[in-house]
Amino acid sequence: MLVAVPGADQWIVADRGGRGFALPLPVVVRVTPSPRICEAPLLPTGYVGVIEFEGQAVPVWDPYPETGDFMWGATVIIAQVGDSELLGLLSDAPPRIQTGGVLVSDEELAAAAAPAAASPTKADEDVDWSVGPVVKAKPIALPVLPIGPMWDKVVRFAGHPVPVLDPACFTLLPNS
């Protein structure tokens, strides 16, 4: 069982279909490798079924359903949604714990989401002539956040941006 260290900046970083997502470690209750997922019909969008966890049926949600069907042996990360509700998040492989995450500012997110500026790109701008013909390292582009109230932040780990999931927002979703 994963244990959050109070005051420490710890995140769970997982992967689904080659796309990452991050959760603050304190909201994670358990990581269950290869649980038996009971698929169910007529569920709200994104949900694939349930797993049994400590005597209750816990919904399993696929962060990126457009990446295709999940495989047997997938990992489910169980997170606290409200006071008593739990939610399982599908991951292709066991997640890792990372520290040192820096949240991307709202301004930077808004700028990344805006259409590209009309300034022409010159090849020279990519080269640092002060030290010679060295190509400048470009910042890694921010990922496009999926639509939904649970996706509103991005955290960077050593320059690599990862969308952040907020499980508490799942109670705000209309169960269409």
């Binding site: 009971c38 169910a40 709200p44 005597g55 109670t171």
Partner: protein, 146 residues
């Protein structure tokens, strides 16, 4: 399997019937199932059920649970589900004749509120039998579909 009168008298069924339909594993309370009928080799199940009586309606599992068109796949078996009043009967086309799970070995898990919507009211919860989980159907809601 011959049909027997379904009894809803006790709230706790003595067993659950576990079956597969439309790619899902379902469970039905044993006291709401009067039997499982099997199609003969040269007759479609839907037609056979239709001849059984005016109060028995055939439900195509693919249509009900996957929103598909009726008749897309012809089920070989049908579980006959009876409402508590006994006035409504539906034959749910299924892929397997089903197996019995004694209630003493099974545990009903509540349906999570996060998953509830207007379309899935016939899902009553989940049944854990051994290490297996199945979607527990509400026979009353299912009978209303008929």
């Amino acid at each position: 399997m011959p049909e027997v009168p379904a009894g809803h008298g006790s709230s706790t069924p003595p067993f659950f019937l576990i079956l597969r339909a439309a790619g899902y594993t379902f469970a039905l309370p044993g006291n709401a199932v009067s039997g499982v009928v099997e199609a003969s080799q040269d007759a479609l199940l839907e037609l056979g059920v239709g001849e059984g009586g005016g109060d028995l309606t055939y439900l195509d599992a693919h249509q009900v649970f996957r929103g598909g068109r009726a008749g897309g796949r012809f089920a070989r078996y049908a579980a006959v589900v009876v409402s508590a009043s006994g006035t409504k009967r539906v034959a749910l086309g299924v892929d397997t004749p089903g197996r019995v799970a004694p209630a003493s070995d099974a545990k009903v898990l509540g349906f999570p509120m996060l998953l509830r919507n207007g379309a899935n009211k016939m899902l009553a919860g989940f049944l854990k039998s051994g290490t297996d989980l199945a979607v527990l159907l509400d026979p009353e809601r299912l009978a209303e579909k008929g």
